[in-house]
């Protein structure tokens, strides 16, 4: 079987859907954080695979150069920002836990109306 870009897109769509479903159906803040990470990794997979399958750039003088690595670079940025996001997110979950002794999101019910 020849693996094509379509296979990678299908895989990353499945990963993304699992992440989104986990985010929407699980009531634990830490699981929600992990689900978001899974969604971001699906994004990274898409970016890197898409960059790999970009056609080479045909130069004027018949030279062929590899495509710009913008997908790879994008993936690095996503990884870095995801780390920052996890740091802020864990701090928020921790401060919530300190005050309420739980990380369940259905315990977050003081604000409503």
């Amino acid at each position: 079987m020849i693996i094509t870009l379509g296979h990678y897109l299908a895989l990353s769509s499945v990963l993304f859907t699992i992440g989104a479903a986990g985010f929407l159906y699980r009531r634990n803040a830490l699981v929600a954080l992990m689900s978001i990470e899974l969604m971001l990794n699906a994004v990274n997979l898409t970016l890197v695979a898409a960059n790999r399958w970009l056609p080479a750039v045909q130069g004027d003088a018949g030279t062929v150069s590899p495509p710009a690595p913008s997908g790879h670079v994008f993936a690095f940025f996503v990884i870095a920002v995801a780390a920052a996001e996890a740091a802020v997110g864990l701090a928020i979950v921790l401060s919530f836990y300190r005050l309420r002794k739980t990380v369940r999101t259905d315990a977050a019910d003081m604000l409503r109306g």
Partner: protein, 520 residues
């Protein structure tokens, strides 16, 4: 032009935030950072204006298509910086009064402002993502700033989880666009997406590819629209808004409801017009404007109806900010229309500036009415307030009238221009719904005035009295100057917004030709 000069509106808050962090680390006691932070923001606004005056160079190739520094982004930069400056002044009064005055708040504001400016200048999916996250991460932390309060922690948890989810949706949309076009910049994506499929008919394989591409690009558009709807708090993605606003410290609420909203709308309008501004995607029958029209109707109606039932003024302002997001959406819907689109886009910018100053002022007046241990957040807290304290009561009145849309305050003209643009674009029903909604909203805004002027406080209830703070007074005066100034000469400000939009289309010819939108 010098790259540093070109980027100065973004660089000033970025470098300033680093300096503020050092100042905070080395000063002996907390407090005192509000004024430097506010000055930083006002300097950034002044730099944006100076660049505007000097004329933005047409050759911005040094930015490599990552950022679009044009008059649109400069207008929004100035709006954001003005809002951020007022928010820092409010924080200076609010945090000190409520014993929250820890120095890390101010670098967070400055970083968020830098992120917001990056967001509105972005012309590349990567920059859009970076700006969005830089802005949001700071605001998440500012929302949970009242560390001992479970409500504050809950607000930031909800805001963080839904905000990150929205960011992930937007990212997947961008990644899909990259997969089908091979570009991350708006112009490049639009060029590939809207390239005429000339040889497609001849080549069956290519035709299939074109179909797949357009399907995936529609999926990507849906993901990006949903993510942006989350960020601006549009129905049905608004659930987090009232909770996050209510639980957050009030100075953070001022920032979130004005600056963050303005930045998200600026980026939303730009990405939709640049990437999906073509006739097929933006045509009125089946394109995104028709989809957004339903969102706008739901946003205005739900925001206003739920605001009617609130007993807390803070939560009422949160729902009112949802309703205002609905009005702004009207302008975004009308923006891709050929001919009248430019004015519609300009009315969006005008609305964002008008809402920023009006809302900032209203929240500021609410901050002014609360003392330590006795924050006035409910309607009942404010009973008789304006009779006891005429000046403070008048400030609240002015801003609430502006939010209602009573002339000669700026709020009236903001709504008027947006609704006129909606009519010009042919969405008569939408315009009617907006007018009815605006009338409904008068009930809850004027409810505050009735409480303040005509009701006596319940016997034994704590009497609200204004706090003494130079910071808050200056912030409210600044907002009031803009509310009155823009209300007295609205045409001049609208012309500025028009100029801002005209420059945008000239600076991005590929987007304009691909979209056929907003051609002057």
């Amino acid at each position: 032009m010098n790259l540093v000069l070109l980027l100065s509106p973004i660089l000033i808050p970025t470098v300033g935030a680093l300096v503020l962090m050092m100042l905070d680390a080395f000063q002996k006691e907390d407090g005192g950072l509000a004024m430097p932070t506010a000055l930083l923001h006002f300097t950034a606004a002044a730099m944006a204006l100076a660049l505007w005056q000097r004329g933005v160079p047409s050759d911005t190739s040094a930015l490599h298509g990552f950022l679009a520094i044009d008059k649109t982004s400069l207008f929004l930069d100035a709006t954001i910086a003005l809002g951020g400056g007022i928010a820092s002044l409010l924080a200076g009064g609010y945090l000190a009064e409520h014993k929250l005055d820890r120095g890390e708040y101010y670098p967070l504001i400055a970083f968020s402002t830098a992120g917001a400016m990056l967001l509105v200048s972005a012309s590349d999916m990567l920059m859009l993502f970076l700006g969005l996250e830089t802005m949001s991460l700071g605001v998440y932390a500012m929302t949970g700033f009242r560390r001992g309060s479970p409500r504050s922690a809950e607000a930031s948890l909800k805001y963080f989880l839904l905000g990150s989810f929205a960011a992930a949706l937007m990212l997947f949309g961008s990644a899909l666009l990259y997969a089908v076009t091979g570009h991350t910049d708006y112009a490049g994506i639009a060029e590939v997406l809207h390239a005429a499929p000339a040889n497609a008919a001849a080549d069956a394989a290519a035709a299939i590819q074109v179909v797949t591409r357009s399907r995936i690009s529609i999926l990507a558009m849906l993901l990006i629209v949903i993510a942006m709807a989350f960020k601006v708090g549009a129905v049905p993605f608004h659930m987090w808004t009232p909770d996050a606003y209510e639980g957050a410290p009030t100075s953070t609420m001022a920032y979130m409801s004005s600056v963050v909203k303005a930045a998200a709308f600026g980026a939303f309008a730009r990405v939709m017009l640049a990437v999906y501004g073509d006739a097929a995607s933006a045509g009125s029958a089946a394109g995104w404007p028709a989809m957004l029209a339903w969102v706008a109707v739901a946003t205005m109606t739900v925001g206003n109806l739920v605001a009617l039932t609130q007993t807390s003024v803070k939560r009422m302002l949160a729902y009112s900010s949802i309703a205002h997001a609905g009005y702004v959406l009207l302008g975004v819907i009308a923006a891709p229309r050929e001919g009248t689109g430019t004015t519609a886009y300009a009315s969006v910018l005008f609305y964002l500036l008008a809402y920023t100053v009006s809302n900032m002022g209203a929240v500021g007046a609410l901050i002014l009415a609360g003392r330590r241990g006795a924050e006035s957040v409910s309607y009942d807290d404010l009973a008789g307030y304006a009779r006891r304290h005429p000046a403070a009561g008048f400030a609240m009145t002015l801003f609430l009238l502006s939010l209602t849309g009573v002339p000669p305050t700026v709020g009236f003209f903001a709504k008027f221009y947006v609704i006129r643009a909606t009519l010009d674009a042919g969405y008569t029903a939408l315009a009617l719904i907006a007018v009815v909604n605006s009338a409904v909203s008068a009930y809850y805004y004027l409810g505050v005035l009735v409480k303040m002027y005509m009701r006596d406080p319940a016997p034994g209830a704590a009497l609200a009295s204004p706090m003494r703070s130079g910071y808050v007074t200056v912030a409210i005066l600044t907002a009031a100057v803009f509310v009155v100034w823009m209300g007295v000469m609205p045409e001049r400000w609208l012309d500025l917004a028009r100029e801002a939009v005209g420059a945008a289309t000239a600076a991005a010819p590929s987007a304009a030709t691909a979209g056929g939108n907003a051609a002057p």
